[in-house]
Subunit: 193 residues, 2 copies
DNA sequence: GACAGACTACCTATCAGAAGGTAGACGCGT
DNA sequence: ACGCGTCTACCTTCTGATAGGTAGTCTGTC
């Protein structure tokens, strides 16, 4: 049955928290061991190397994101509401400090120093998210429910960049509200007059 | 005279390169020693601890940025041209890989894991850049040479976020051109009709 | 001009601790 | 009897940092 609070899940979850705080080189097996309450060697049983651990983590993260967005799309028909819901999701995560930063955004910033196996997964996440946003923007443009000036792909990339940059600023200032402040006018611009 | 290629400068410069690649925990004294061509211990002579080194680096980085923007402002009178010049500067840096990422943007992403002395400096950089952008936007709004919808401060924060996010995307995709693609429409929006 | 003292920049040697990782044994449920 | 998850114990390498020494430079005084 799905008692999914397995040890390997706990390892991945605590690794995610540690990575969102300090990146790939900002955590060690010892840190995870301390949080989960097992020994370092036991982590190696589940994930032979650090690369395995982080690759798996990013793969899971992307999978969760993709299915999460698919479910969201099922419940929210309007493109504008979808984009809004996506922004709200992050606003909430940052505000309550549950997921204060996107794992892949953080890993992307240190991409040149990452093992290639991980770098590939991070890139895949960006491509997946960008594709989703592009499709939503395209739908909105067709329906006339979104005001898109140029190419949908470009608009999607710009929006994603603003979201990531807003996360960064919220963190830099130590003020979660900054995220919402930045996203507000950005979303406003997408509304048809 | 100003033969400023001193060893401590070389140390700072190579540290900057290493940090823009992999962040605070992504480089070591050994890495710098190998690049500069001295022993690890000699770096400690110039910068007793790693915190000293990075704090000094970020201070210098902010100082350079502030004086650079002041000089730019002296040569370019029009607010829109200033913002454009700022964006072009980064587009060039990313394209030719000379400074492929903003040191402070990278450090901000791993802010929770940074020593407080460094975190403080990073925050100061964000505040300084945001203040400059706000002042330029304010001038543009007064003159009517910039189309500002809401508060200048918010507009400045949003622009800064987009710049940082665009850097991130360019890095994630491994395509420097993405930066320009994103900044294009962003700058377009600031132009009065 | 010469010498002493202070200072600068670097060196070798060494350290304690943390890093990622391995080997082999123990217990437990099937 | 087997395999899974965990353990203890250990290894190697790296990391930031220190101690102590050497050679050169700068400065002031006689």
């Amino acid at each position: 049955m799905s008692n999914l609070s397995t040890t390997s899940d706990e390892i991945l979850t605590s690794a995610q928290k540690l990575i969102t705080a300090g990146g790939y080189n900002g955590f060690s097996y010892a840190d995870i061991a301390a949080v989960v309450g097992i020994r370092k060697a036991s982590i190696h049983h589940h994930f032979p190397s650090k690369v395995d651990l982080v690759r798996t983590l990013v793969q899971r993260y992307r999978g969760d994101a993709e299915s999460g967005l698919a479910i969201l799309e099922h419940h929210v028909p309007e493109p504008l509401d979808l984009i809004q819901a996506y922004a709200d999701y992050w606003a909430k995560c940052i505000e309550d400090e549950s997921i204060p930063f996107c794992v892949c955004a953080l890993l992307a910033s240190e991409l040149p120093a990452l093992p290639t196996e991980v770098a590939v997964e991070v890139r895949a996440f960006f491509e997946s998210l960008s594709a989703w946003l592009t499709s939503v923007m395209g739908r909105g443009q067709q329906q006339g429910s979104l005001k898109i000036s140029g190419a949908t792909r470009v608009e999607a990339e710009a929006f994603m960049a603003t979201v990531h940059g807003a996360m960064l600023s919220a963190r830099a200032y130590g003020r979660p509200a900054v995220f919402g402040t930045i996203l507000g006018p950005t979303l406003q611009r997408l509304k048809p007059e």
